[in-house]
Symmetry: C2
DNA sequence: CAAAAAGCCTATTGACATACTAGGAAATAA
DNA sequence: TTATTTCCTAGTATGTCAATAGGCTTTTTG
């Protein structure tokens, strides 16, 4: 399954902000850009989307940047996915003309909508904090001073 | 999640062939086209793909058409999906340059590949015969003479 | 044998989405 | 006031999707 860079970078950016915005410090797009190796201009667009979706707060001006708008433990992946991509967790839309009770309807209702249900279930359970915890515990170069904001 | 018409029509075509090719009779693309309301020319391309993937056999010439190459109970949805779309069940590919052990890797390995695993699990269990049975049992206009090949 | 019926193959096209690049306006802190 | 940063808009190259179209090949049938 193909994952768009917009979603991928969006998640990475959120995690980066969660990890590095300790003590209310802001994280700038150039910080994230260099740390995560993402084009800054492209990243900025994604950050705007994340702000509009209510996940982060932006602080303009010198020494500005981003902080999480909510604790990472209260941001689920299903919310993030819906905020960045209004297709990936959506059920298949069948136009009224095609609802003929035939095989096409059944494929959509029995296969795809069911798969979407599984995806929603899994992504609803997992939070940004879970993901960061997973990343932290599996990272071997962890020197003990690894800090993150939950 | 978006489903391509190629995959959707491919499944419908397979089901249609399974249902209507009783006693070794063939099912022509024009039969499927009119029954399922799919452009015949487009359908033909999909049928070629289904034949090349080994799901159906084509019989050329007058009175020709298609039959299943294997029993519907031995055709899983994961096989069909892989035959029609080499992306939908595939794990995210990460180029060697990007395997830096950072957050991007983790997003792919912990989220997407896991989701793919669930999808593969579900689609591997379900067969074409299961789907047809489901369709048959839920179709209210069933008059008892409904026949299909398993 | 000829003609019709079917599968089979390839090329082309319009629409749309993706993944950026680019330029600059607005706000804010130093 | 100047540097820094977010924020907004436009453009663009590339690729995929969903067909449409034309015609060749094979096989049955009259």
């Amino acid at each position: 399954m193909k994952i768009s860079t917009k979603v991928e970078f969006g998640i990475v950016a959120l995690a980066d902000i969660a990890i590095y915005s300790v003590n209310g410090e802001t994280v700038s797009s150039s910080d994230i850009s260099s740390r995560q190796n993402i084009s800054q201009k492209y990243l900025e667009q994604i950050l705007v989307a994340l702000r509009q979706a209510g996940f982060i707060r932006g602080q303009k001006g010198s020494r500005g940047g981003y902080t999480l708008a909510r604790p990472a433990s209260e941001i689920s992946f299903s919310e993030i996915l819906n905020g960045l991509d209004n297709n990936i967790l959506a059920d298949t839309y069948v136009s009224e003309d095609d609802t003929d009770g035939g095989l096409r309807d059944k494929v959509n209702s029995c296969i795809w909508d069911k798969l979407n249900g599984y995806m929603r279930e899994f992504t609803a359970k997992m939070t940004l904090a879970d993901f960061i915890e997973l990343h932290k515990s599996e990272s071997e170069e962890n020197d003990g001073s690894f800090m993150y904001y939950i």
